[in-house]
Symmetry: C2
């Protein structure tokens, strides 16, 4: 992802946009808030305003470069869109996020929509639970 992809998306290849794209690509965490991106820029010594981060992320979303998710907790999170849909399972304890696709669930959603008389455009499926990773604060055996 570089200035070329921005141009293709109809966006001027400005320094802030290139930098934000880099943050999204190089981030340890795949799902990051606007604040996360902003702090990462500050840590890297880049001067980008928080308002710009919000603006650019929204533009990226509109352009189909990133996806926005509203997990519980008020703060929206963003991730690069890689061309394939997936859903999320989130740990209540440590916030760890795993991605998944279940074809049966996907298919049944369409059935449900049809039965309800809706032309389905999208969906959001988030499973919440307690993960069993050693790292997780609440995990004991």
């Amino acid at each position: 992802m570089d200035r070329h992809d921005l141009k293709k998306a109809g966006l001027k290849a400005t320094l802030p946009r290139i930098r934000i794209l880099n943050i999204l690509e190089q981030s340890e965490k795949r799902h990051v808030s606007a604040e996360d991106v902003y702090r990462a820029l500050l840590d890297a010594g880049e001067e980008v305003g928080l308002a710009t981060v919000y603006r650019v992320l929204t533009q990226f979303e509109t352009a189909g470069l990133v996806e926005r998710h509203n997990f519980e907790g008020g703060q929206a999170v963003f991730e690069l869109y890689e061309g394939k849909h997936h859903d999320h399972i989130v740990c209540n304890q440590c916030g760890y996020i795993e991605e998944f696709v279940d074809q049966t669930i996907e298919k049944h959603q369409h059935t449900v929509a049809k039965k309800a008389g809706f032309d389905i455009t999208d969906h959001s499926l988030i499973i919440y639970g307690d993960c069993t990773r050693a790292k997780c604060p609440h995990y004991e055996g």
Copy 2:
């Protein structure tokens, strides 16, 4: 639902709480925001503070009397909990909400959680689409 149910939930039967419960029961719309509840109270000539509405709705949620949903749009919505789980399909155009349960989807969520090593506690499934009701602004045949 009356003062008795409040007591059983460990909540004092105060006037604001009784009134809010009534609003939730008698509301035209099943899924209402805190603002919706607040305005309904004002319209009924009841003097209840907005902060109290938020506090009480959160207490009701904790007590298992209502459920909170975070649909797109920033504002949380609440509905009375009737003892049975369901998911939602929401119209992008008019906001109309239909409820559904799909046992296959429910079952597969547990499978997914197990495979990911999570003890599932909850989930949120929201399907978005365009409804085909005559009432709907975008619906044309």
